[in-house]
Symmetry: C2
């Protein structure tokens, strides 16, 4: 039976599909809208979110929430990365980082899994990096063009193929932890 | 019987108390935490929020949510003003506005009122203004030091007394609309 991934983001579907294929997991995509609450930690957002999605679908499913946490900006934009991308964009974040020497940032991902009438399970993933001096690349989405992972070769996420990004991204790490757990269930 | 105002913000209690006194309404303050959802409009945040607070208290109550919407930043920080103030602060907003000629902004307030087992009522208030070139004043809270209301005399909200701010603030307007309706019920 296919495992349902609830998201309205086609880029996430692409990334997660590649990982699912590697694990031999059949994925089904649904864009059922669920409520995201305001909270400083992604785990607090995805837990009630996936529980609601599961209740609406009456089927086992998983969802994912991600955010960019910039050290010198005290974790901004964090859980509100989507809104901040839609309003300020990469240009706004780069403006906020003007003159900052400490450009450390972390992308975090929280995957929530829920079976009907059960409590959700949450899996976390993260990747450390820095905010680039200017946007580079055309792949990926959102803040991918300004994030350079520390374990990479200096390119931004937006300069990498899906396969390359999946080798070190926050999302891939959270999804991998989830898939490994899921297959042993 | 006292009317319950649910908030964790003492500045809001101070402002609303002054307005309540003018209307002869006895106010009681509770800081019962309620969930705020992620939404672009304040009304969408306060409606389920006050409904939950009312269910938790099992008593009639009201709550208020406010945000600063900056025109050139496409409504940022909007409903996430609290988080943005805690992370970027006034300094961050001023940095984002560096070199911007269009400094128009709007403070908006949504008041939600709920009676047990009933649907909430929502009242809106707003005030137009501009983002100052630098922070001024020590009163009020959050972005009050950088917001200059258009109908004022050039001072920021943080340079005004509670009574002065209440003559033209978004919050006072939403609360006034609510109190007028409430007294006629």
């Amino acid at each position: 039976m296919a495992l349902i991934f609830v998201t309205g983001n086609r880029h996430k579907v692409e990334e997660v599909s590649e990982l699912a294929a590697r694990h031999g997991i059949e994925l089904e995509h649904r864009d059922t809208p669920y409520i995201e609450i305001q909270a400083d930690e992604l785990e607090q957002v995805v837990r009630p979110g996936v529980q609601q999605a599961c209740a609406l679908l009456r089927q086992t499913c998983f969802a994912e929430d991600a955010g960019l946490f910039i050290e010198v900006l005290h974790g901004f934009p964090g859980p509100y990365s989507n809104f901040v991308f839609r309003t300020l964009g990469n240009e706004g974040l780069l403006k906020l980082m003007t003159g900052e020497n400490d450009r450390r940032a972390e992308f975090r991902s929280a995957v929530g899994y829920c079976e009907p009438s059960k409590r959700p399970e949450v899996f976390m993933g993260k990747v450390e990096g820095t905010i680039a001096l200017k946007a580079k690349g055309t792949r990926g989405f959102a803040f991918d063009t300004i994030f350079v992972p520390s374990e990479g070769d200096g390119r931004t996420f937006a300069e990498m193929s899906t396969g390359e990004k999946n080798r070190l991204s926050h999302r891939a790490r959270a999804i991998e932890a989830f898939f490994r757990w899921y297959k042993q269930k």
